[in-house]
């Protein structure tokens, strides 16, 4: 068993209303100094040892991310 993390983020040039909402709300709560926020998704997968990087990449691209508007990164972590 391996643990895999996939982070999916809205592309830089694409509007991110979620991140913007967080960024706007922080000062109202008295938190200053956060200039920019982007919000995306974080997936944690448990995968069998024989699942190779290429398969993981395809899973990320086809299922977890929407390549039209999102970027993603795949990494294996210690479990």
């Amino acid at each position: 068993m391996a643990r895999v993390v996939v982070d999916v983020m809205p592309k830089e040039e694409i509007l991110d209303p979620q991140g913007q909402a967080v960024a706007n709300a922080l000062p109202r709560q008295g938190f200053e100094g956060v200039s920019h926020v982007r919000q995306g998704k974080h997936f944690e997968l448990e995968v069998a040892d024989d699942v190779d990087d290429d398969t993981l990449e395809r899973i990320a691209e086809n299922f977890l991310a929407n390549p039209v508007i999102e970027d993603w990164s795949v990494r294996r972590v210690e479990s």
Partner: protein
């Protein structure tokens, strides 16, 4: 004080949607609705407060997560502590949970879709300020419309709620969102702060809703605010 003398505040956050409906329901029940703005640091002398449905501040982070910090909510928390009746409907329920006035949290529907439909509920608690007009076990038909209405809380909290009779309503027949123990609404220990996902304000007139079964909640509150 006459019924019309009782005033019930309805908060409008940017992104609130059912505030007009809540005010209409208050009027229909015979009280005076007072519009409260999210930036108000003052409840304008109202006798009770309704936190209505909608998507406060867009609800992009988590439903109710931003609204709980609104200046008006500070006042609502203070007033609730002194026993002011507060009702949260849908997004309002989410806000009250986020703000810690009610236990638990509301999460993504188990079916993963927003669901708008007429829903049967059973009145479980008929002693809270907001439910005295209902017979115990009465079944009501009231709309639900939400994408994040699955009520969750720790098992011990759920047991406590059940033990103290603080479950207000339960879904009957089909649970629309996968809520723990079919819970549709809960109240605080004193029975004054209540929250539910279904929309009683959309069931006050069979012309525009499935029934008028929701009107009882507003009438119940008036009974307390304006003792006969």
């Amino acid at each position: 004080m006459s019924a019309a003398g009782a005033s019930i505040g309805v908060i409008t956050f940017p992104g609130s949607l059912d505030d007009g409906d809540a005010r209409r329901a208050v009027r229909r029940a015979g009280a005076t609705p007072v519009a409260l703005w999210h930036a108000d640091a003052d409840l304008h002398g109202v006798d009770a407060v309704i936190v209505p449905g909608g998507f406060s501040y867009g609800d992009y982070l988590r439903c109710g997560a931003i609204a709980k910090f609104a200046p008006v909510m500070t006042e609502v928390l203070r007033a609730a502590e002194h026993g002011m009746p507060v009702l949260g409907v849908c997004n309002g329920f989410q806000v009250l949970c986020e703000a810690g006035l009610l236990p638990g949290a509301l999460t993504r529907n188990a079916g993963l879709h927003y669901v708008c439909r007429d829903q049967w509920l059973r009145a479980e608690n008929t002693t809270s300020v907001w439910t005295t007009r209902y017979e115990p076990g009465a079944e009501l038909l009231i709309p639900v419309k939400h994408g994040e209405g699955r009520y969750v809380a720790e098992e011990s909290t759920l047991d406590e709620l059940e033990g103290e009779g603080r479950v207000l309503f339960r879904y009957v027949e089909d649970n629309p969102n996968g809520s723990s123990r079919d819970i549709a609404g809960v109240t605080d220990a004193r029975g004054r702060v209540a929250g539910l996902m279904p929309h009683p304000e959309h069931a006050i007139d069979p012309l525009t809703g499935p029934t008028d079964d929701g009107l009882g909640m507003f009438l119940s509150a008036l009974d307390t605010l304006v003792p006969a």
